[in-house]
């Protein structure tokens, strides 16, 4: 059966936001700070032609911040600027070319202050006021760890760095505010309708009925359209209110790359005590995230990063501490995996290096520490469901012929001076849904099914299909429960006037949480079904009782369920150029139960392509507060020539509170890519790396160093 949205997409006739034109519509362009940190002293506007207006902080009816978590992100900066690219005002008018000309003529006097440009600087200054935005600490008490370390055979310390990652959703961000006398309708590319609606109610200081949010077809999200669109929505809505016209704001690629959120760069410090045989006695992790200029969702990203800091391992005497630190750079935010990819890259790398010290094959070493059903989590929660990792590893070892290849590659590499082959593994998990009690206390998801007189059933939920395929999977669930043909189930693009708040489209929660609610709603509708009668059913989230999560002490069950994965990657490294060529990729996953095979394969292949590229291909840097990669060609996401076909398999492991047993799948598939590719490069070169991406430059540098040491 075809995807629900196939026809409109394959023909290009489904209108994304940049394809939309409405009556009385003008464009907006943003004047942005060129200074990383400073105080605004004066703003001088050029003479604006008839029909052109400027909109800034003074035009905001409500408080001047984008409602996310903290109140630290201005809609239009009017006192301090905190990063290059921060919006100060918007020019509005009919012709974009005229607007761009006018933008050049805006003069703003900013008194510049000493900025913090890098995570290293922020770490040095983390005790200074305002630099540490959030921090958490948990695990074994440090005195105990110190006494263990005193008796240890050796202590291994490593520092590991991960870089930015840019989403590069193919459709740049875009938002339109449609001006009406009695309401503002905000329409655009987005993942979280009610995040935007709440931000608008705050910014416009208006009532619940005065704003409405409608999702347009969304050309990819990956987290990039989680919290960032709230700011754009405030811009266009404030402007529409001010000029009494509909206002469209669409970024071109370079603006999108320079000013939108990215994956947090991170620094991870490991300190591990080993006995004589290389067994782990204790481990401490310090984790630093570069938040950029505003806190945004960074504290929540840090939580997930910390919760994954021990990977899939039961480490004796584990301690972790993490910081969200402010720099005067573009704010970082949600990106598929949400802190977990940094942690898994770090811990997998560290475990691999520990295995070298112990002189044991990395995979064998890691398997000794694998968590098992019934084991406690690092936050004193419990892995209460069956864990299939051993089964999945054994299967993948066979499929990939790992052991044979490992030996063969090493022999071949001795013969071949230039091209070196390597094979690497990664083991990983993903906690499904919001952290801790978020679903129960903050989200409180509600879903609705509406049946019309002619017995057509529509899904009324606030979740976005941004390409991941929920139109298809969730419709299938409802169709199955109601015994109706899938084609007859309606799932229109959500509109807050029509749909209850079923929560944001994030955290691998949609299929598991919203899907389960829809399954229950459909069952209820079926039991009440009256042919030819309009009917409506509503279902509310019910929390599975676990070990209660305590955010202050960082203890309890952080997630209701976990999805799991194993990746094996083969590469060939050209030691002359440092280029890495993917040769083979194998992947096994446990996502509970698959609802749609094609949709799942789409998540596996797409997620892995992003995750692998995060490990060796995609590099973004910031210099004195400026993002250096302003175009797709500068940044280099994978093309069809970089990716190879992926051999993947799913292991059924139904979860009681997911629809038909389904757990989260969207983020899991990204997480294992980078650590597996790093491990494969290390295997090829027999050199450890302490960072991703392992780019050709990094490889060549390390080869020079190695030669220097040996020579």
């Amino acid at each position: 059966m075809p995807r629900k949205d196939h026809k409109g997409k394959v023909s290009g006739q489904l209108p994304y936001i940049s394809d939309v034109k409405v009556e009385n519509m003008v464009y907006g362009v943003l004047y942005r700070s060129t200074i990383a940190y400073g105080r605004i002293k004066s703003i001088q506007l050029p003479d604006l032609p008839e029909g052109y207006e400027a909109v800034g902080a003074e035009e905001i009816p409500g408080p001047n911040y984008v409602k996310i978590i903290k109140e630290d992100q201005p809609i239009f900066a009017n006192e301090w600027v905190n990063y290059i690219g921060e919006p100060i005002l918007m020019l509005v008018g009919a012709d974009l070319n005229i607007l761009y000309d006018l933008l050049e003529k805006v003069k703003i006097d900013i008194e510049e202050h000493q900025a913090i440009y890098t995570l290293e600087e922020a770490i040095k200054q983390k005790s200074a006021p305002g630099v540490t935005m959030a921090s958490y600490e948990f695990g074994e008490i440090l005195d105990t760890i110190t006494s263990i370390e005193l008796k240890a055979h050796q202590i291994i310390e490593e520092e590991y760095d991960t870089g930015y990652q840019e989403h590069v959703y193919l459709e740049p961000q875009g938002m339109l505010a449609i001006y009406k006398d009695d309401e503002i309708v905000v329409q655009g590319s987005m993942q979280c309708l009610y995040y935007i609606k709440n931000a608008l109610i705050n910014a416009l200081a208006c009532g619940d009925d005065d704003v409405r949010v409608v999702q347009s077809p969304t050309g990819g999200g990956f987290g990039g359209k989680e919290e960032f669109p709230s700011m754009m929505a405030c811009h266009v809505a404030v402007a529409a209110k001010a000029v009494k016209k509909s206002v469209m704001l669409v970024f071109d690629r370079s603006e999108d790359m320079v000013v939108t959120t990215k994956r947090h760069p991170a620094k991870l410090r490991y300190r591990t005590a080993l006995d004589r045989k290389g067994n782990i006695l204790s481990m401490s992790v310090d984790l630093f995230l570069d938040a950029g200029a505003n806190e945004g969702l960074s504290s929540v990203v840090l939580q997930r990063a910390l919760l994954n800091s021990a990977g899939v391992y039961k480490i004796p005497h584990f301690h972790a501490k993490g910081y969200v630190l402010k720099t005067h750079t573009v704010p970082n935010g949600a990106f598929r995996g949400f802190g977990a990819p940094q942690s898994f890259a770090g811990i997998e790398s560290h475990m691999c290096h520990l295995s070298n010290t112990a002189n044991i094959d990395p995979l064998e070493y890691k398997r000794k520490y694998l968590v098992k059903q019934g084991d406690p989590t690092i936050t004193k929660g419990n892995f209460r469901d069956p864990i299939l990792m051993e089964e999945m590893i054994k299967d993948l070892l066979n499929t990939s012929n790992y052991k044979k290849k490992k030996t063969e590659f090493q022999q071949d590499n001795q013969q071949n001076q230039r091209y070196k082959k390597g094979i690497g593994t990664s083991l990983f998990l993903h906690g499904c849904g919001f952290t801790g009690s978020g679903e129960r206390d903050h989200i409180k998801a509600k879903v609705k099914l509406v049946k019309s007189k002619d017995d057509q059933v529509s899904l009324k939920i606030s979740n976005s299909d941004m390409g991941q395929g929920i139109f298809t999977t969730l419709s299938k669930i409802v169709a199955k429960e109601l015994d109706l043909p899938y084609e007859e189930i309606l799932f229109p693009y959500p509109d807050t006037k029509e749909v209850p708040d079923s929560g944001p489209t994030v955290a691998s929660r949609t299929t598991m949480i919203v899907g389960k609610l829809l399954e229950r709603a459909a069952k209820k509708l079926k039991s009440q079904w009256q042919t030819g009668v309009e009917q409506e059913v509503v279902e509310n989230y019910v929390h599975r009782e676990m070990i209660p999560w305590n955010e202050k002490t960082f203890t309890g069950d952080a997630y209701p369920a976990y999805s799991w994965g194993v990746n094996i990657v083969e590469v060939e490294v050209d030691t002359l150029t440092g280029n890495v060529k993917l040769e083979k990729v194998y992947a096994n996953y446990d996502v509970g139960k698959v609802i749609d095979d094609r949709v799942m394969k789409g998540q596996i292949d797409g997620g892995l392509a992003q995750g692998l590229a995060y490990g060796y291909l995609e590099k973004m840097t910031s210099k004195e507060g400026k993002i250096q990669q302003k175009s797709i060609s500068d940044y280099g996401p994978p093309t069809s020539l970089d990716v190879v076909s992926i051999e993947s398999k799913i292991f059924d492991n139904p979860y009681a509170d997911g629809p038909y047993g389904a757990k989260g799948a969207g983020e899991l598939t990204l997480i294992g890519g980078a650590p597996a590719v790093q491990a494969a490069i290390e295997d090829a070169l027999q050199t450890p790396f302490q960072q991703i991406p392992v780019t050709p430059e990094v490889i060549i540098d390390s080869l020079w160093m190695k030669e220097g040491e040996e020579g």
Partner: protein, 158 residues
């Protein structure tokens, strides 16, 4: 005035010669199937045929196409070849967010009309100018491969 053929129809535009073909197609003729992804010829979302050759319309000034034959996704939508591609993309699961897809379909059609039986490597090469961030390309490669089989005989040059 610049005169050219757009999807088989003779048209005239008074757009300045430096205007991008992409904007003229989208704004003046309201053909929305040609998308803008990067504006620098890197992503292929704006792919069209110019005199039967696959081109990025964001890089083409309208002044350079006097007398040329331009075909957009709308211009091939009714063809048998498109029908095969449509079915193949659907069957193989090649569509996710959809933003790259019209361009990808144009690139697929261009490839198959040059090479009706491409190998996997040739398909990867043929669509390498078109970025997709959702699929990791493999299901698109499968779609093109399937279209080659299903549409055997259809792809030869007109």
């Amino acid at each position: 005035m610049i005169t050219f053929t757009l999807n088989g129809r003779k048209v005239e535009t008074d757009a300045p010669p430096t205007a991008r073909l992409l904007d003229v197609i989208r704004d003046d003729y309201e053909l929305i199937g040609t998308k803008e992804g990067c504006g620098e010829g890197e992503c292929g979302a704006c792919s069209v045929f110019v005199n039967n050759l696959l081109q990025n319309s964001c890089l083409i000034p309208i002044g350079s196409i006097e007398g040329a034959e331009i075909i957009t996704i709308e211009g091939i939508m009714e063809s048998e070849q498109f029908k095969i591609l449509d079915e193949s993309y659907s069957h193989a699961g090649g569509v996710q967010c959809g933003y790259c897809i019209p361009g990808m379909v144009m690139a697929s059609a261009a490839l198959l009309s040059q090479n009706p039986h491409p190998s996997e490597a040739e398909i990867r090469e043929g669509i390498s100018g078109n970025l997709c961030r959702c699929t990791g390309y493999n299901m698109i490669v499968d779609a093109v491969s399937l279209a080659a089989k299903k549409g055997d005989g259809l792809w030869q040059k007109k």
